[in-house]
Subunit: 667 residues, 2 copies
Amino acid sequence: MAQACWGCYPWLVLICACAWGHPKSLNQREDVRNCSTITAVNTTAQLTALREQMLTQNLSAYIIPDTDAHMSEYIGECDQRRAWITGFIGSAGIAVVTERKAALWTDSRYWTQAERQMDCNWELHKEVSTGHIVTWLLTEIPVGGRVGFDPFLFSIDSWESYDVALQDADRELVSITVNLVDLVWGSERPPLPNAPIYALQEAFAGSTWQEKVSNIRSQMQKHHERPTAVLLSALDETAWLFNLRSSDIPYNPFFYSYTLLTDSSIRLFANKSRFSSETLQYLNSSCNSSMCVQLEDYSQIRDSIQAYTSGDVKIWIGTRYTSYGLYEVIPKEKLVEDDYSPVMITKAVKNSREQALLKASHVRDAVAVIRYLAWLEKNVPTGTVDEFSGAKRVEEFRGEEEFFSGPSFETISASGLNAALAHYSPTKELHRKLSSDEMYLLDSGGQYWDGTTDITRTVHWGTPSAFQKEAYTRVLIGNIDLSRLVFPAATSGRVVEAFARKALWDVGLNYGHGTGHGIGNFLCVHEWPVGFQYGNIPMAEGMFTSIEPGYYQDGEFGIRLEDVALVVEAKTKYPGTYLTFEVVSLVPYDRKLIDVSLLSPEQLQYLNRYYQAIREKVGPELQRRGLLEELSWLQRHTEPLSARAAPTTSLGSLMTVSALAILGWSV
Amino acid sequence: MAQACWGCYPWLVLICACAWGHPKSLNQREDVRNCSTITAVNTTAQLTALREQMLTQNLSAYIIPDTDAHMSEYIGECDQRRAWITGFIGSAGIAVVTERKAALWTDSRYWTQAERQMDCNWELHKEVSTGHIVTWLLTEIPVGGRVGFDPFLFSIDSWESYDVALQDADRELVSITVNLVDLVWGSERPPLPNAPIYALQEAFAGSTWQEKVSNIRSQMQKHHERPTAVLLSALDETAWLFNLRSSDIPYNPFFYSYTLLTDSSIRLFANKSRFSSETLQYLNSSCNSSMCVQLEDYSQIRDSIQAYTSGDVKIWIGTRYTSYGLYEVIPKEKLVEDDYSPVMITKAVKNSREQALLKASHVRDAVAVIRYLAWLEKNVPTGTVDEFSGAKRVEEFRGEEEFFSGPSFETISASGLNAALAHYSPTKELHRKLSSDEMYLLDSGGQYWDGTTDITRTVHWGTPSAFQKEAYTRVLIGNIDLSRLVFPAATSGRVVEAFARKALWDVGLNYGHGTGHGIGNFLCVHEWPVGFQYGNIPMAEGMFTSIEPGYYQDGEFGIRLEDVALVVEAKTKYPGTYLTFEVVSLVPYDRKLIDVSLLSPEQLQYLNRYYQAIREKVGPELQRRGLLEELSWLQRHTEPLSARAAPTTSLGSLMTVSALAILGWSV
């Protein structure tokens, strides 16, 4: 799945929200709304109540971001404060309320939706950045004015950028630990989730939590600043460390939690009542020694951190996702700051068990996707499938797979021009019929107990245009060229991602999103800090990343070909530590859309080897399950491609391959 | 020329000094020296005198860096303070003197040289970073100790890193504007250069200085922070702005200067006595209006800046290379900070006149290099050429070219294993004979009134090994693949430089330096901020950059193939703003070292087109000059290459090309 914000955490939303482009209304006055089309709820009452709360705190303005206290990519219902106060339910947007005005900033994906959903209490602003918000604030609030915010909903970086800008202009940014929206929301606010927190079965864990704790402690000892504790703020950090899961966050099997892992204690902050006695026993929670997990209440984290810092301690944090609410209570000299905690870095490299688990989940996921593609091939021509029913259908197929626990993100099932929209998802009410005359893009994934999956295929059941074939083939070449790249160990993804773009660049095409992201074992579908973006850590053996070039023709069609790949050691002619990728997604591309004449002999050979791997890995599973129709579909769609298959077939193409072989090309 | 530090300015030296590798003695205790081999001058007297100066300032330590007040890459003799105080004359190294100790930090290129040149007053430290220096300082000076430094020799960044680290450890970093080494050096210190400062002939200037001043002022007006002045600290900024040159710095036609360009005045700080009456007239210096240049004394810059900041002003600076000595006198709220000044950014994009000038200089430079290569081909087999005499010879050939004004850097003329050493240069005493049994690397360039050149060729006059041919060809493929890359406008060099490495990576080879740097019109040979490194600005039409992949086999040979290329618009099949490179260096590669069988049809075609361009552009010049032997050499060396030329020649190769043509490959 291409990331909305190209970051697992929303801290990157602002940077890249416009990357996809088409901000067609930029020339219009950006804050003028047409209120005549409003279909929204009335927000007058909650705004009045919020302003009363602001008054008691002597605030001129209050900022309401769209994240939770863990800088999560997806947030639970109880954290949808910005949606509740504005009426706009899109996933990205920042609201600011002053004494007299209320304003929302969101990116081009959501302009129409925000226009429709917000009543005329709200201004809509279309250029999203701290700079734009602060500029607006300066015109709205007086010198000396106080701007309130909930420090748990601000990353350290976003706090700093607001703070500096407001201070420079003689306004004050005021941290208020009680969330004012929550006070107004009151009993209507959805309760905090309360489902059981459970331990993964042993078979699905790469290591025991005790092994992981020991590993992290040993990293603490080796660190030159000698931290005495690691603070885990991201929900997947705690889930990973203890091999615990729950279902607090949509698409993510996490639970609200923090961990303070010290050199002598393990303190897990969560709702204690959610642990069964078995889980408590599993956590060794009845004792007090350094390998016993002490459960403390989730709400106690800030006070506990503050108390801990009174000692001769140093707390190691990942500054990219620790909230300012925790950061501000730790004295600077007691902080060990890295972009990512050692848990985040360790989790990024999967051990051999975790690799095997993730690979196994991808085989079953391929079965589900292949069943869906085969089903579409039969049913689309009958005119009975639409984007929404299709999305449901692929979820049903996944649901029949072992260890399935739900989709890993909202399925992007997009036909024709809808596939050119970033992050389009059909709804029961709004969707398009699938047709043999249009291309169809499916970007979907599953959460399985053994792994998280994410795959995109684009297909056409009729006769694609020459341009569609060319664009598709160039996207495919990008996928292939990056997948088979050999590169030195510790290369940053950022410096190699252009290999996925070159074939498009060659003819003046490109795509406006990132090229890939890390992925977890029954964890985040966008798992930082692995990937091809600025801010990702260097590639290392054992990491998994998606590889997902695309091409989008506004108003016509969209193409994306996404696979998940494991970083593996490359065998090179001369000795050295080199890496390459092993693709673990196992679904064939659409041969109807491949112009074989554009592929080099090396690319063609790579593709045929990949198809062979699909046959070898997925074929037996289909056979075992008696899915013979799908097996036959798979055989047909993974027939080796040859230059002969190109429309420009000629004796020449055969000659080429053999001639190249004679020449000793490394085809 | 591959950059020592991969930065025109030394601020990057520390980051990348170790990139080339082979720090073989890392396991030895790093500060223990063998003083028995010393061949150096005695530094006892100057150290004693320096310590007396330190005493008067109540300093526990004094830091002596290796730069000048303009963060220049090359520095004048009067700025060689670190060399004078230590005895070590290598170009990179930082010295620190305490009451009882004296220590030098330098990178692996200089360990042997520093060992030889420094007496036993000095410790040698081999891990160069602010962190290592501060760690050492903390063991040597007491809490509360004062560490002195000359603020003009510190970039803002380096000041900040020392300041934070020392403050955290309760030591004080103390800015002392009088340089203590200069006080000790006294009358022995070489005088400041005094050669005339002259205006470029009109024919060699891309625009008049008045046009440039107007352009920069218009950028000031458009900037959202509304700066009232731009401060130019880098020597090439002032040289470029006024089209003025002199010879204060080796290899760089600059003069010690600063400029404060305000909205209503032009203040040039330099030694007034160096301007002739014609130049004064050229600068319109007898008046006071906004288009008259007011000359002020070089030494007045700090006071003048300070005086200027008393008004309602804002000064725009390039923070990467402005010295802390100027930065510290500007109140923060009066600063407009960017990495590079608008002069640096504007200078990076050459206008059509500047492009034509730079191209013309490269044609003449090619004549000189071709003469040298043809001369070597005749003379090396006779055993009469060595690295040093070769370097002299190529300089002589350049000296015969019109508008030549000296080499643009110290020639790297390296035979056999010497070419594997980073930045090896032969001396009269120490050099190797050129031989038909070894590869030879020449990295050299010229300063011409119309342009600065920089080119590297690697040749073999006998029978290269298969590995040498393979490595050479893969380096060549890297050069070709990056040179012919089509990429979107505003792409950062950092994300495309891997195309120059891929052919090497494929077999487990690589190189440890950057892939290219900007270059000027009779200015810096390493002109920031253009290039392929972190910190370079995005590529734009009109920029010039070197493209210089290499391969180095320790103890055996070194290969580098470097060309200068202009960024030009690419014509793509589909509309879009795309760029590519036009190579302006015009010297053929060594066909003896090219394994044609490794080249793709596209690469081969590109190479033959390049050879055609060399013939068309340099051929007539050789003809006109009556250099017929060289012309014949050029014809021989630019004969079109075909797959037939490969050792694995077969009918197949011919078939390949035609078959590919049939297939419609874009060969």
